[in-house]
Structures are given as C-alpha cells and as structure tokens.
Symmetry: C2
Subunit: 335 residues, 2 copies
C-alpha cells in the first residue's frame, strides 16, 4: 500500500439496490411456499408476483444489505456513499430518497430501459426471524461501468455484499471496486451475506478473501459454512489468518471480533421485544465499519455495531428509524 490522503468518506458500499416488502407470516406459510426459514433465495419476476399475492398485508422500506449499512453509517453521522442500480420507477424513487435522506452520496445512474427496481419479499415469523425471497430486477444490471473509482478512492473502506456474487455482471463490478480501493490504499471489506451464497460461491469467496479482503463480516452460520466445519473457534482462527480484522455476529449471544490472535467478545444490547430481525447484520456492519474507519478501539467499534443492531430489530424494517448518532451519544460511545 502507498501512503494515502485522508478519505472524504468513511464507507463506500457496493450492493444490490432493493426495496423490501415486509409482512408477518406463520411457519406453515413458509413450509407451504417452500421457503427455508431465515434464508434468502433469488426468485424471478413471475414467482415474485405469485409470492406477493400470497403474502399478508405489509409495509415497504428501502433495503439491500449494503444499502442498509451505509444508511446506518449516515444515521451515525458518518460520511457514506453507495453504488447500486435501481430503475426509474416509484420504488426506485423511494430507494433513492431514503438513502440520500440518510446523508449518503448516491449517484449511480438509473436503469432507464429494462426491469423495474428490485424487491425483496420478507416474511417475518412471530419470533422476529425474517425469510427473504429476492427478485433482483434492475439491481441485476449493475455492471463494472457503474463503479465510480474516484468515489471509492476517496473512501476509507469499500464494503461489498457477498450477495453480489450472484448476478454475473455485478461480479465484475465487485472486482473493479476492490481493485480501485487497493490502488488508492484503502481497505476492502466484504460480508458473506447468507449461508446459501457461501454454498454457491465458496471457492470464489475464499479466493476473493485471500486476495482482496482486509475485513470480513459474517454471522456464525456463514462462517461455519465458509470453512465447512462445526468448530466455531477453529473457523474464527481460519478467518483471522486471512484478514486484518473481522467480525462474527452470533444473534443474541453478541459478536466476536478477530484481529490476529486477539478475540474481543461484544455483548448484544438488550432489546425490549424483538419485532423484526431484518437488517440486524447490516446495521451491525454500519457501526463496526464506521468504528474501523474512524480508528476506534475494537470494543468501541463492536459496541457501535451492537447498538445499531439493537435499534433495528425493535421495529419493522431494515434501517434505523431514530438517529444512531444520538443513541451513541446517550450511551457515551465514542464516534
């Protein structure tokens, strides 16, 4: 790495730009629709329409994993940018509004000709667990041409969704973003996103992590899937060997941060009642990455992540509905 100038942005994320449709369901509904509880599966437009027909009345909210994360960074008062593809339709307008209203720079051109804005149908069981079925739509059309290399060069961390391994043109965008970041002396972070993504793209993900990722975010199940083991500590060691610093989330058991031989356990923040876990990992990433970008100590970066996750699971929708900056201030956490 060369010596680098201070970055204007803390985090620039590249992701599938998606609007979420969230509705309550019961376990029988998931079984009937063939949806493995807690998973994310890709579906086509026809299946999306049919599944939507079967779903209960719901609410809509801007989503997309990395989009949620930068909206969280913005809510913390951080400087964030986003690269992702929406269509010029009402859902695209909603997505663009929400991410910009969170203070995030978003300048990727609309897709003017092609499928509509992507949507993720999220069925939430009574325990707050979410099960997702995504029609990528316009998000699928993100290509290397959309990667604004100057924006990435001016961001302390570029953050990539593991989900981007699925749409073929996005894989190229993904590679270009990582190269641009490293060329500018910035750090590259990636989230594994989903165990099914890990199963579909294990060799590619491992190769990418070895070659390009400085920071990895994963939940416990994704980490175990990546290294095909049931041994949590061994999997943590394997990940720590390959990265500068990483975070593994374990739901209500909190998270573990990995840096070399160091293991830092971060407790989960208590939550009155878990309503909808959609976005929990994304908001954890927001606090953690902002903390790293700002050079905070690991326990503080982890605590910011835990705080943001606790906010988002206490209501419907994947993004914070109160200022995370104010919450952090109330808790005496550094920013």
């Amino acid at each position: 790495m060369t010596q680098t100038a201070p970055a204007r942005h803390d985090v620039c994320a590249v992701g599938n730009a998606i609007v979420d449709v969230l509705a309550p369901c019961d376990e029988a509904f998931l079984a009937r629709e063939g949806l493995p509880k807690g998973s994310m599966q890709l579906i086509d437009e026809a299946r999306s329409a049919a599944l939507y027909d079967a779903m209960a009345p719901g609410v809509e909210a801007s989503g997309g994993s990395a989009g949620n994360t930068v909206a969280g960074v913005g809510s913390f008062g951080g400087q964030a940018a986003y690269i992702g593809k929406v269509a010029e339709d009402q859902l695209g307008e909603v997505f663009s509004h929400d991410i910009r209203a969170a203070g995030v720079v978003f300048t990727t051109p609309y897709l003017s000709d092609g499928p509509g804005t992507g949507r993720c149908l999220i069925n939430v069981t009574e325990d707050g667990q979410r099960t997702m079925a995504t029609y990528l739509g316009a998000a699928n059309q993100l290509s290397a041409a959309d990667i604004d290399e100057a924006l990435i060069a001016d961001s302390a961390i570029v953050y990539l969704e593991g989900y981007l391994f699925d749409p073929a043109p996005a894989r190229e965008a993904f590679a270009r973003a990582a190269e641009a970041a490293h060329r500018a002396g910035r750090r590259v972070a990636i989230t594994l996103s989903d165990t099914f993504v890990v199963d579909r793209w294990r060799p590619e993900l491992l190769a990418f992590i070895e070659a390009s990722a400085d920071i990895v975010l994963a939940n416990r199940a994704e980490l175990l899937a990546l290294f095909q083991t049931e041994e949590f500590d061994a999997a943590c060691d394997a990940l720590a060997e390959r990265t500068e610093v990483s975070a593994v989330t374990c739901s209500e058991d909190g998270s573990v941060l990995l840096r070399g031989d160091e293991r830092v356990r971060i407790p989960a923040f208590p939550v009155g009642r878990v309503i909808d876990t959609t976005g929990a990992g994304d908001q954890y990433a927001a606090g953690f990455l902002l903390g790293l970008a700002r050079g905070l100590e690991l326990p503080d970066a982890g605590a910011l992540g835990a705080l943001a996750a606790a906010e988002v699971i206490s209501h419907w929708g994947p993004r914070p509905l109160v200022s995370l900056e104010a919450l952090a201030r109330d808790r005496g956490l550094p920013l």
Copy 2:
C-alpha cells in the same frame, strides 16, 4: 326503511385510496415546512415532491382512512369491501395487494390514464403524533360511476370518509353511495376525518348528517369544531340528537359512545410505548363498526375499537400487523 335480507358484508367503505410515506421528524421540521402539528393538508404534486425531498428516510404502507378501517375489519375476521381509486403503478399495486390480503373485496377499476396513485406524506414526531400532507393523485378521480350499488346494498354499513368532501367528483360518489345504502335498508356511517375538513365543509357535513348519517365517528376536536363549541357534553348531545349511534374518541382518555340519552365510556387499552398514532382513529372505527354490524352491545363494540387502536399505535404504519381477531380472542371479547 324496508325489511332487509342479511348482508354479505359487514362494512363497505368509500374513501381516498392512498399510500402512506411515514418518516420521523422533529417539531422544528414541522414549523419550517409550515405543517400544523396533527393536521392533514392537501398538497399538489410539486409540493409533494419537494416535501418528500426534505423528509427523513421512512417506510411506506397502504393507507387512506377508510381503507385502513376496512383492512382492520378484515383483520378482525369481518367481511369488508372497499371502493376507492388507485393508478396502475407500483404504489397502486401495493395498495391493491394490501387491502385484498386483508380479506377485503376491492374491485374499483384502476385509473389507467391520469395522475399516479395518491400518497400521504406523514411526519411523525417523537411523541408519536402524526402530521399529514396528502397528494390525492388518482384518488381524486373517484366518481359516482365507481360506486358499485350492488356491493353497497349487500353491506350492513356503508362507511364514508369526511375527507371525500374535498375532491369534487368524490362528493357525488359519496351521495350516490349513501342513497344506495338507504334504498337497500342499510346504515350509513361517516367519519368527520379532520378539524380542517370540518371547517371547510361544516354546512355540508351538518346537512349530510341530518339527512343521511345513521352513525358518526369523530374525535373530540372534530366534534367541537362541528358544533363550534368548547362544551364537550353539549356537543355530544347535539350529535346524539342527529344520529342513531355515534362514537367520539379522546386519545388516551378513551372514547364515548352516544345513543339517545345513553353515554357509554370506553377506556383506552394500555400501550407500552406509543410509536406512531397514524391510523388510531381508523382502527377504532374498524372495531366499533364491526361490532355494530354484528349487533354487539355498545361496550363490546367500543372495546373492539379501543383494542384495534392500541395495536396500531404500538408500531409504524396505519394498519394492524397482527391478527386483530386473535387479539380479541385473547382478551375474551366477543366478535
């Protein structure tokens, strides 16, 4: 009234079909945007776009006062129908999905040529109070031709929004719906909707109530505005003289039901924390009207209303997110 056959539907509502955009705000934002706290004002498309630009990130949910009410009736397991106008766009699709998914019959033809689906921009302050600015869009195009008289004739109660006094073509639809209901020996209910609506249309509303309304729903402020008095008991008496049965809601002080000289006080259900009061009156109407349609005792009808209102103010959005039927069963309330 002639002798009538049992009705297939408990409630058929006629209203402005609207999708809500809800976002948190502070009091300074309302002052800056010239929005009187707690009010609803009509805005044009350009103002709607500018206000949306200024709003915080939010969530979207199907709304429209009477639409919320019949969705609540559906959630109670009641039979409901709805007449209102949306465009054939993504927000229109969301509206149609949500109301049908709530078990409500909705067959009004889409507006195929004209403005997009109406939207209500709702800014919610930290105390849970909502302040609304509505661009009616396609809802404004509801006309007498959209009134399905057979549907209304087969509904125990037709329920009309006071908001419908604002768009000119809807006033005609309103009159036709009331006539169709009375011709079939059904009851006509109306909500006053908003103090500003009452101020704009006081003589028309009073004339309509005298001539056509069997049931009136109002909150305390609307009732006082209607009779231009500060004397609550006198206003209740004035309303009771003009209607068969009515309900006046008083926020956390519960509600009062009026029938002749009878006054029934219904306490509010306790709520852990008030998140967003959007839809509170609409859901109260759902329980109350369903109770009347089913011939329940007044205290039971009022309790159903209070229960539905308590559910909806405990989360973001104007419609129930859990089964009101299950809630009522848990509380031992008759349905």
